[in-house]
């Protein structure tokens, strides 16, 4: 949040600084008065005679101070509301020319992202790792599959809820290339802690290359082991939940695996994407993310190895 990488987060940070410093100033003033009064007021023996001279009598001094403090805080509060409204409008006014449209759906406990620019043939789906072009606005259409989730990428924008039965939208732009860590911010059940999302902002050419690669279906496996892996993938339960474009596997109950090997992390930030981790994940997902909606599949070591070899070809 303190290192904004796009206009939205930048505007919010400016507003935040204004509010935070105003508030800190007000607190400092109150504290100062409090401490000054505590230091300067005489101590009383126990129990001293009460001073009732002020009962039912106006105390013009303190009354004036309180009134001034009230008026001052009211004015400051009003100023903050105005600043907030203007920031809100400025955030909403970001130019959306040439925007990338992405439909982002929250699931217990992962994200699917469908790129819906251009003709239908150009759409493609990926999961948990969302690439965007630097300097171009992105419009996320937000949906949820089960319960309420919330997307938060502190360096790019404020939060927005993903609500089942509703669509919301979040617009943002990344002005610097980089990997921006995001996560689900609304408690969504057991593995809420492991519902990470990475926004990868690439320069235009690299983004286009990435998108073109994502649009391609999975390539034909080259060697026998990978072929056997694909057999297993399609014959085992995997295909009931996952999709690999270019094969008969088309289910959407889990992340689209067409280009899973190209992703940086597995299972929404649970594990770095290495061969060993991939193998460990498939062998026993419940060990790494207890309660996740992927069951463990009993497979022989050889089968598992073949399956992983196949998945590793899905770049």
């Amino acid at each position: 949040m303190f290192e904004p990488a796009g206009p939205q987060a930048h505007l919010i940070l400016q507003l935040w600084h204004l509010i935070a410093w105003t508030c800190a100033g007000v607190f400092a003033a109150i504290l100062l008065v409090l401490v000054a009064i505590l230091l300067r007021t005489p101590r009383a023996p126990m129990p001293a005679a009460p001073d009732l001279s002020t009962t039912d009598k106006a105390e013009p001094g303190p009354r004036r101070s309180v009134a001034t403090a009230v008026v001052a805080s009211a004015l400051l509060l009003l100023a903050l509301v105005v600043a907030s409204v203007f920031t809100d409008r400025a955030v909403a006014r970001m130019s959306l020319v040439d925007a990338v449209n992405i439909e982002l759906t929250g699931h217990q406990w992962w994200w699917s992202a469908r790129y819906i620019n251009g003709p239908v043939s150009d759409t493609f789906t990926t999961a948990n790792e969302v690439h965007i072009p630097v300097g171009r606005p992105v419009i996320f259409t937000l949906k949820a599959d089960d319960v309420i989730h919330s997307i938060w990428v502190p360096r790019l924008a404020g939060k927005k809820d993903l609500i089942p039965g509703r669509t919301a939208s979040l617009q943002l732009r990344a002005d610097e290339p980089g990997v921006y860590q995001g996560r689900c911010a609304e408690f969504c059940g057991l593995e809420h802690a492991f519902m990470g999302l990475q926004i990868v902002a690439d320069p235009a050419d690299r983004y286009e290359a990435w998108a073109a690669a994502q649009r391609r279906p999975a390539s034909e496996p080259a060697d026998a082991q990978a072929l056997r892996g694909r057999e297993l993938f399609l014959s085992q339960s995997c295909a009931m939940c996952h999709a690999v474009q270019g094969t008969t596997a088309g289910a959407q109950h889990g992340p689209d695996l067409t280009h899973v090997a190209g992703r940086r992390e597995l299972a929404a930030g649970t594990l770095p994407n290495t061969r060993e981790n991939l193998q460990a994940w498939i062998a026993d997902p419940q060990k790494h993310k207890p309660g996740t909606n992927m069951p463990s599949t009993p497979l022989s070591q050889a089968d598992l190895s073949a399956l992983v070899t196949y998945l590793e070809t899905l770049k």
Binding site: P50, D51, L52, R63, D88, R89, Q181, R183, H192
Partner: protein
């Protein structure tokens, strides 16, 4: 057996005396406070290091849900209730609450409800949906086990307790004030309590409706929250927060009331701006019903709604600020006595201000989008609830313990308690502002290292351990002083309100003669008449008593409300005065002790818990339990209603 004895277990089970019920509330709520605190320690132990392994995801989720639920419903609210019970009748010069047996009922429902909810730990299915339990996560589709059932039923049970108590106190305050105690002479604690009872009466039905919908969804297959069947996914959020924001004031206003008693006494000066304090309390409560959606800015309600809720929230800051300024100016020009109670009260003024001001920060919808659901919020509401409510309640405990028990708490141990709490509280919660701003969301059971969160989390954990340690000093102090503390006498602090005119602990009937009140500070008024010659008041029939410069009685005479025969000599008594005249001797009709409210409460809770069996596929047994309990409950209720409250008046 007209009055029953005052000792022994049976006397506690059957008591209808508001003071003893207040004592029960106090110790029960402190026990739950320790449990909630223990849950917090486990949470902090889990988060002390990245990738903590102490608790798994499921247990962690149960832990934070129960920590929040316990602290809100089983600790802070009942701690306030302890003070309502004990103090309201004493402060307004009454002999009991309006409905003493209903009062006992409220307590037993609370106790059994709290036990019911915590029994869930023993089946390993404690509530796990967060204290605000957002649907649809809490519906059967996503939470099929008993966790949420315990929560839904438990909160409904506790709601019955709060509502019964609220009606009781409203009636008490409206109808039972002593002659001359007009509304604008009521002590500030009673005033704030009065406001809180209205908040309870208006806010609890809303959560009850939300819970009943959820209960029907879970048990009877209705679709209030089933989105596939067309339910509005935000219905729960709106209902919950329409209750939830006023709930914040239910938690904080009693503490505000307590410090408004403590600060004047230890500043030796009346509360500054009393009427403004009253009106700002009412205004806070009123506005509190119009700001709920500030918990929902991330939903995306659109600029108009956002701005309206933002404005309303900012508006609340003004009456709240007025209170803070008035407390500060109460001390100004006074003579400060730094007792432990006073220190806690001053700490509230400072720490609550931090929480209030970070509240202003979330009132901006745009800025809030970076703060909501992060640790920044956790920091904020702990400054409000620990820095505010708990500090106020601690101030109240040190101040009123002498009245509860007849004995003083040790100031020395109290100072340890205060300073360790003060440091521990800031060490725990201040770093959370920064972990939140660094991107740490709430309610995660593990986090990776090197995201800039590690140091803050370690600090928070050490702070939490310190805070836990500090609380042991309070427990030790209370246990030690209950029998061994210095004898308090009627009025150890030289305080202004009626409760200090009678012995400590007060006799059953509180006031041998109902006092006649002629000012806002009846005791100061009587003790120091020479200081108030220009204050309009009536003193027909009251003897003036003479005081020396330190406010000590030097002459004979009697303080108002003192039971006939109780000593009011100059020297402090050396043992707690307990042989006052009995109510019988004085001819004061006292309510009979009765066990019936306890049984009504017990069978109400077993009736609710019978519901659980439905989800264990034991419909027959469930029906048997529910119907039997309902019949027993109704039976005891009739027995209660048909038996006389107290002996005939003569």
């Amino acid at each position: 057996m007209a009055y029953g004895s005052n000792t022994g277990l049976w006397s506690w089970l059957t008591t209808v005396d508001h003071k003893r019920i207040g004592t029960l509330y106090l110790f029960t709520a402190l026990t739950f406070f320790m449990m909630g605190g223990f849950e917090a320690e486990l949470i902090r132990a889990q988060l002390q290091h990245p990738n903590g392994r102490l608790l798994g995801a499921e247990v962690y989720n149960q832990m934070f849900t129960m920590h929040g639920t316990t602290m809100v419903f089983l600790a802070i609210m009942p701690l306030s209730a302890a003070f309502f019970n004990f103090l309201i009748p004493l402060q307004i010069g009454a002999r009991d609450v309006a409905f003493p047996r209903l009062n006992a009922f409220s307590y037993w429902v609370y106790l059994f409800g709290g036990i019911f909810m915590n029994l869930s730990w023993f089946v390993g299915q404690a509530p796990n949906g967060g204290w605000f339990g957002y649907a649809p996560l809490t519906t059967m589709a996503y939470s099929p086990l008993l966790n949420i059932d315990f929560w839904v039923l438990g909160l409904q049970i506790l709601g019955v307790s709060s509502l019964a108590a609220a009606f009781n106190f409203i009636t008490t305050i409206i109808n039972m004030r002593a002659p001359g105690m007009n509304l604008m002479r009521m002590p500030m604690f009673t005033w704030m309590s009065f406001v809180v009872q209205f908040l309870l009466v208006l806010a609890f039905p809303v959560i009850t409706i939300a819970l009943v919908f959820l209960q029907f969804d879970r048990f009877f297959g209705t679709n209030f929250y089933t989105i596939a069947a067309g339910a509005d996914p935000l219905l729960w959020q709106h209902l919950f927060w329409i209750f939830g924001h006023p709930e914040v004031y239910i938690l904080i206003l009693p503490a505000f009331g307590l410090v408004s008693e403590v600060l004047p006494t230890f500043s030796r000066k009346p509360l500054f701006g009393y009427p403004v304090m009253v009106y700002s309390g009412m205004l806070i409560a009123f506005l509190g019903f119009g700001v709920w959606a500030h918990h929902m800015f991330a939903v995306g309600m659109g600029p108009i709604a956002d701005t309206m809720f933002s404005l309303a929230t900012m508006l609340i800051a003004i009456p709240t600020g007025v209170k803070i300024f008035n407390w500060i100016f109460t001390m100004w020009g006074g003579n400060i006595n730094f007792t432990v109670s006073m220190k806690f009260a001053i700490a509230l003024v400072g720490l609550f201000t931090i929480g209030g001001i970070s509240g202003v920060m979330h009132a901006s919808p745009t800025a809030d989008l970076q703060q909501t659901d992060s640790y920044f919020i956790v920091a904020h509401f702990h400054y409000v609830l620990f820095g505010g409510s708990m500090m106020g309640i601690f101030a109240g405990i040190y101040y009123y313990f002498p009245k509860f028990s007849g004995r003083m708490l040790s100031e020395k141990i109290g100072n340890w308690h205060f300073w360790l709490s003060f440091v521990g509280m800031n060490l725990t919660f201040f770093p959370m502002h920064f972990s939140g701003l660094a991107g740490m969301p709430r309610r995660i059971y593990q986090y990776d290292a090197n995201q800039g969160w590690d140091t803050y989390n370690a600090m928070s954990s050490y702070g939490a351990y310190l805070l836990g340690f500090a609380t042991l000093f309070l427990v030790y102090n209370m246990l030690k002083s209950w029998h061994g503390g210095a004898v308090a006498g009627n009025d150890p602090w030289g305080a202004p309100s009626l409760e200090w005119s009678i012995p400590s602990p007060p006799p059953d009937y509180n006031f041998a003669e109902i006092p006649r009140v002629s000012s806002r500070y009846p005791l100061w008024d009587v003790k120091s008449p020479e200081l108030t010659t220009d204050v309009p008041h009536t003193r027909e029939g009251e003897k003036r008593i003479d005081v020396d410069a330190a406010g000590q009685h030097v002459g004979g005479g009697k303080a108002i409300g003192n039971p006939a025969g109780a000593s009011s000599g100059a020297s402090r008594p050396t043992h707690v005065e307990r042989n006052h005249k009995t109510a019988e001797e004085l001819g004061i009709p006292m309510p009979y002790p009765t066990i019936k409210p306890l049984f009504v409460a017990l069978f109400m809770v077993t009736m609710f818990s019978g519901m659980l069996l439905i989800h264990k596929d034991k419909l027959g047994l469930a029906l048997a339990v529910i119907i039997t309990s309902a019949m027993l409950m109704t039976g005891f209720l009739y027995a209660w209603l048909l038996s006389p409250l107290e002996p005939e008046h003569h």
